[in-house]
């Protein structure tokens, strides 16, 4: 028995392993066996039993989708080469591109929708290569990049169009430090109060005079409606800086001074704006869910949330969520923001990006031609506007293409007539320069103690300025 117990030595193991590996390698190198597949036809007889359905009476809400036809004119000039755009999926700019490419068929449109676009764009600009030709930039980002001289100067291109845009949108593309315009105004981001008149009527508020409604009246009404289990706006329990920015805009205030050198949220208008927001909070009429989260849309669909403050571009999201009669399809309307003492404007801005061309772009001529087409012609703006944003180009805002637009959410109501009116309600005193993002972030973080009454509005706003100053000073555009 002992003789049979043969131990495998290390050398023996290595030898065996080596032979095994060599055989495997040889096997891997041997010619591939060609498989011949014979195709055999098989006749299959199928008997399909069809059961006749019982007749059912189904009430179906038919969505009325309004299709717009935008006529594309012949090319004005011969452009060639590529045009690379970075933006999110299903972007309005991609719709503009369809018209642009028809005009300039020799231009190749490339739109990859990369994830983490902001970081990639910054990295590409830092490296000086791999940049897109067009980027959809938020106001404060464009201001930061413009301050660092990373974006193409569009002053000469934009000046002939100066009167075609609201001054607020032009301000957002203007860099005080360099005296240059670095972006082409895109979405106007004008805002209003979305609401369901049918629900308000059901709750005993069918005759609200929205044109003259004050914040005090709105808060009283919201408190009464909340008692009945319905909410007139969304106010997340951990704060909502957008409401403060809306109120500040309405009062003719600004969070950061025009030259971007000073935080101004603790001035008289800032204090008044936060007082309005606190009144909204105290009314209890705000639904405490995260903004645009699943519970938010659920509340909107089942009629618990019967209104909210939102930008014009929110229409696309409303259209995606409001599909049934219970959700009020076709019944929604928009009103100007409430008024009150000191209020100068009945609207506000939230979001609202612009088109920029980085200096490292390789197809500048194409990019500028695209900007002029997309947001400097009724045709291009119409294509962008059909997505849901409101291009700021005023001739488009006055055109029937814009004014006669319909949406399933608003039924037969020409909702854009309202937005055209609201455009005139935008402030000329509200700025979002570099550093604004840091201030907005601190307001979001630190507004709850004020709302809960742990700090007075004055103390709270002073504290916000103190806390925001280090971040602001490190992100502002120093003159």
């Amino acid at each position: 028995m002992l003789g049979m117990e043969k131990k495998l030595s290390r050398r023996g193991f290595l030898r065996a392993f080596g032979i095994g590996a060599a055989v495997s390698a040889l096997a891997a190198c041997k010619p591939k066996v060609v498989e011949v597949t014979k195709v055999v036809e098989k006749v299959v007889k199928e008997t399909v039993v069809v059961e006749k359905e019982k007749e059912k009476v189904v009430t179906k809400v038919v969505e009325k989708v309004v299709k717009q036809t935008v006529e594309v004119q012949k090319p004005a000039e011969e452009l060639t080469g590529e045009l690379i755009f970075w933006g999110h999926d299903q972007h309005p700019i991609d719709l503009v591109a369809t018209g642009f490419v028809q005009r300039h068929p020799k231009v190749k449109w490339i739109s990859p929708h990369p994830a983490d676009r902001g970081q990639k764009f910054t990295a590409a600009m830092a490296a000086g290569s791999g940049c897109p030709d067009l980027f959809w930039a938020e106001a404060t980002d464009a201001q930061t990049w413009g301050c660092n001289e990373l974006l193409t100067d569009l002053t000469e291109e934009l000046l002939p169009y100066k009167d075609d845009f609201h001054p607020l949108k032009l301000n957002e593309t203007y860099i005080v430090k360099t005296g240059k315009y670095i972006g082409w105004p895109g979405d106007i981001s004008v805002s209003g109060y979305y609401y369901r008149p049918d629900k308000f009527a059901e709750l005993g508020y069918g005759d609200v005079d929205w044109e003259n409604l004050t914040y005090d009246d709105f808060c009283l009404m919201s408190a009464e409606i909340a008692k009945k289990g319905h909410y007139t706006f969304c106010f997340p329990g951990d704060g909502w800086a957008a409401l403060f920015m809306y109120a500040l805009h309405q009062l003719g205030g600004t969070a950061v001074s025009k030259d971007g050198q000073k935080i101004t949220v603790a001035d008289e208008k800032g204090i008044q704006a936060m007082t309005i927001v606190k009144k909204l909070w105290d009314s209890g009429g705000g639904l405490d869910v995260s903004w645009w989260s699943a519970p938010y849309w659920g509340a909107l669909q089942d009629g618990t949330l019967i209104g909210d403050f939102a930008a014009a571009w929110a229409r696309g999201f409303w259209e995606a969520q409001i599909k049934t009669s219970e959700a009020g399809i076709g019944l929604w309307r928009i009103a100007p923001f409430p008024t009150g003492p000191g209020i100068k404007y009945r609207s506000g801005v939230w979001g609202g990006a612009q088109l920029v061309n980085p200096k490292c772009s390789k197809n500048k001529e194409n990019a500028i031609a695209f900007m002029k087409y997309g947001f400097g012609t009724i045709e291009g703006a119409g294509l962008a506007g059909s997505w849901g944003i409101v291009p700021g180009y005023r001739p488009y805002l006055r055109s029937p293409l814009f004014l006669r637009m319909k949406s399933p959410v608003f039924g037969d109501w020409y909702f854009n007539e309202f937005w055209a009116k609201q455009e005139k309600e935008l402030s000329t005193e509200f700025y979002r320069p570099a550093g604004w993002g840091a201030v907005n972030g601190i307001i979001q973080k630190e507004m709850v103690p004020i709302l809960k009454g742990e700090l007075s509005v004055e103390e709270g706003m002073k504290r916000i300025v103190e806390l925001a100053t280090p971040d602001f000073e490190r992100t502002m555009c120093k003159l």
Binding site: A294, G437, P449, D471
Partner: protein, 308 residues
């Protein structure tokens, strides 16, 4: 030189210079070089570059501006540094003892030889550790959602008041972050303790039982002292991990409500990634590193004393 003298003073050859040693063993060095090359490229160089960056002001583009110790000064005066430090230490010193206690208790139970379904339980406890933390956080968000969460639905079903877990109360948000961290990490700790428990010789237990020791005495006098090296190792590793805590609060609360769950790493992310203040973020990173090293060194000294 006489033989006696040679024995008294053996000849000591001077060590060979490094280049000679390398030349002699170049094949050996060649084999270990991939690690050192990748370490130098992906760890050492970025670390050195970040250190240089911590003395500069830079937003990711344009030339770097040398500012000396200014970034460190700004970061030490940051209005959120105190709150984030307190939050981080709070998490670390709640999670550390409770985590070790939980892991030891479960490991002892799972080490019982005739426990039914021992293997299944071990797998179940280890599963969260290998599950993607993002998925785990999504599940927790669903569980603790203020309106639609299962926990609140259950509380409402039995007539108890619901809690705004993630966006309302600071203590509730902290509790959820602690639960998630325990849930994700306890499996790994159990595994380590099980390894330790199985390395204890059964003869020691037998001797103790013969001497009349009861189960509690055996655990307290034999098991726990013999697990000291593992407790020591885990305390150091877990402290480092917890002081660098980011995933759980980022995915559950983004640091809210009112900064109650904002850790040092979340603040670092805000400064570096959101605000693109790379110089400040580098300085802050090195300050956090210094803190972690200091706390770890203190722990090592204290534990060495404890272990005798």
């Amino acid at each position: 030189m006489s033989e006696a003298l040679r024995r008294a003073h053996p000849i000591v050859r001077p060590p060979k210079p490094l280049w000679k040693q390398v030349a002699e063993h170049w094949i050996d060095y060649l084999f270990i070089s991939p690690f050192f090359i990748s370490f130098a490229v992906f760890a050492l160089y970025p670390l050195a570059w970040a250190f240089q960056l911590s003395f500069s002001q830079w937003s990711g583009y344009g030339p770097m501006k040398y500012v000396g110790l200014e970034n460190y000064r700004v970061m030490l005066k940051d209005p959120y540094i105190k709150q984030t430090l307190v939050n981080t230490l709070e998490f670390a010193y709640i999670l550390l003892p409770t985590g070790i206690f939980l892991a030891i208790s479960l490991a002892v139970i799972l080490n019982i030889q005739d426990l039914w379904g021992r293997g299944i339980f071990r797998t179940i406890y280890f599963l969260p550790y290998v599950t993607n933390s993002v998925i785990v956080a999504i599940v927790f968000t669903q569980l603790f959602d203020d309106s639609l969460g299962w926990v609140n639905q259950a509380l409402a079903a039995i007539g108890l008041p619901t809690v705004k877990w993630l966006r309302g109360s600071p203590w509730a948000a902290k509790t959820v972050v602690i639960l998630l961290t325990h849930w994700g990490g306890v499996g790994y700790n159990i595994l380590l303790f099980l390894g330790g428990l199985q390395s204890i010789e059964p003869e020691i237990y037998e001797a103790a039982m013969i001497d009349g020791a009861n189960s509690w005495q055996i655990f307290w006098r034999i098991t726990l002292p013999l697990l000291r090296p593992i407790i020591f190792f885990l305390t150091i590793i877990a402290t480092i991990g917890l002081l660098n805590m980011f995933n759980q609060p980022y995915m559950l609360t983004r640091g809210g409500p009112r900064g109650a769950t904002e850790t040092l790493m979340l603040r670092l992310y805000d400064i570096g990634i959101t605000q693109q203040r790379y110089g400040d973020a580098s300085a802050f990173g090195f300050l956090i590193g210094a803190l972690v090293i200091t706390i770890s060194l203190i722990q090592i000294r204290l534990q060495r004393r404890w272990m005798g």
